[in-house]
Symmetry: C2
Subunit: 128 residues, 2 copies
């Protein structure tokens, strides 16, 4: 649902809002069904960086086009804004992990990082 | 990301948590790409009921298997819980709209309702 009072957000504003929160959701196909997983993210150099875990359904997302969504809940538990980026999910090689990437929530040594380079960026929200 | 401290939720608990919030996200395929839209929902008789709008990408979701996700953000802007239901999205005929369905956020006469009958229900979260 998208009430008319919402405005389209620019790409820059969309990425700024995405970077302002830690939780988002990756959308992909798993066993021919639509799948979604909430994950923690950071935005680094315009790319979305998230965690993957061995054996997880998220492996299905690698090297495919995925959507990544984050949103903010506004007053009265209603939608405040939403940003969706679409792009290919790639595993980050060990040598390519951004130095400034901090990982406060995960200590699984077998985990890996995934980056999504946004090809499409869309967002809407209350102006502000 | 799913830290080991999280517990799997039962189907009943998952649906209860889903019903405890108003905002969720429908996941579907649009123009051969994964798509996601935040929407407002209610849970009625075990079914998820959301709004559709004419001409919206969401039309692509009708009569297909979709995923519907809701989550709660916990302390420090991290994931608290998440529920995903998977099922076929069907348009609700005018005569089938639940009487007790209230629509506080939408006054678009051309809108319609979609129901998702959960075939698969999964959830995880902090116990409690």
């Amino acid at each position: 649902m998208k009430p008319v009072r919402f405005h389209e957000l620019t790409r820059d504003e969309s990425l700024r809002r995405l970077a302002s929160v830690r939780v988002g959701r990756i959308v992909f196909t798993h066993q021919a069904l639509p799948a979604i997983r909430p994950v923690h993210h950071v935005v680094d150099a315009g790319q979305v960086i998230i965690h993957g875990h061995p054996g997880a359904p998220l492996l299905s997302a690698l090297d495919t086009v995925v959507a990544y969504e984050a949103d903010g809940i506004g007053a009265d538990d209603t939608i405040g804004w939403s940003v969706v980026v679409t792009g290919v999910a790639r595993k980050i090689a060990a040598g390519e992990v951004p130095e400034r990437y901090q990982d406060p929530w995960d200590d699984d040594e077998a985990s890996y990082l995934i980056r999504i380079r946004p090809e499409l960026v869309s967002g809407f929200g209350l102006p502000g």
